[in-house]
Symmetry: C2
Subunit: 115 residues, 2 copies
Amino acid sequence: MSGAIAAPTQQLAALADDTRWAILELLGSRARSASELAAELPVSRQAIAKHLAVLEAAGLVESTREGRSVRHRAIGANLSALADRLDAIGRQWESRLERVARMAEERAGAERERG
Amino acid sequence: MSGAIAAPTQQLAALADDTRWAILELLGSRARSASELAAELPVSRQAIAKHLAVLEAAGLVESTREGRSVRHRAIGANLSALADRLDAIGRQWESRLERVARMAEERAGAERERG
DNA sequence: TTGACCTGCAACCGATCGATTGCAGGAGGA
DNA sequence: TCCTCCTGCAATCGATCGGTTGCAGGTCAA
């Protein structure tokens, strides 16, 4: 164990933007094209396209060509997988710091008995 | 239900940086001061201090003054809470898109029967 | 074939970010 | 008291980011 945490910073960076969350919220309810998204959000279509590229690179959005348009949809399973990893790390911190606190407590108890 | 997702972008932005993950990794195993962290990582103490401010604002790190130094520790429970929220959103996407797919499937089935 | 519509590429701009250096200030030990 | 150690604030710099405008290309319908 120990060693590097191997954090999925790319996915986290993709999620650290309000406009991308607005896009994901829309794509989570129904698959849409970039133009549809641009019509529903207060940014240009090109900005949407850049955000979709980031989200797709992070594995949070999936795209399918349909005729002359491209439909995008959110991939919930990958978000849940990321959540699992974060939860595991959080629990690890908790257990480690708990153990340290317990050791300090025991040491303090011995000091009290001795002193 | 429906409505806005209310994503904790501040916490996600705090986690979207490799140096901050390196800091969290160290603080997850044992509480440390900013100077200790600077000695173990390849960045200056001031950079560490800025990162700690970001992490503390996001509720991922807790700080306690001890004499002339300040000891910082990672808060695992808050990371797990964030993970729970992400997981819930991911499952929501999955169920919604599943329902849409099922409706499309039923519609296609009816078409086949009729045609 | 022509025209409408949607995507994709490139250049550009202002703002924010990660990081550095330099200096001031406060707490403890000799 | 003096010196050392650690923190905190400010200014600065290059890089990246979110967003825009403009234009080229491809696909469908009339």
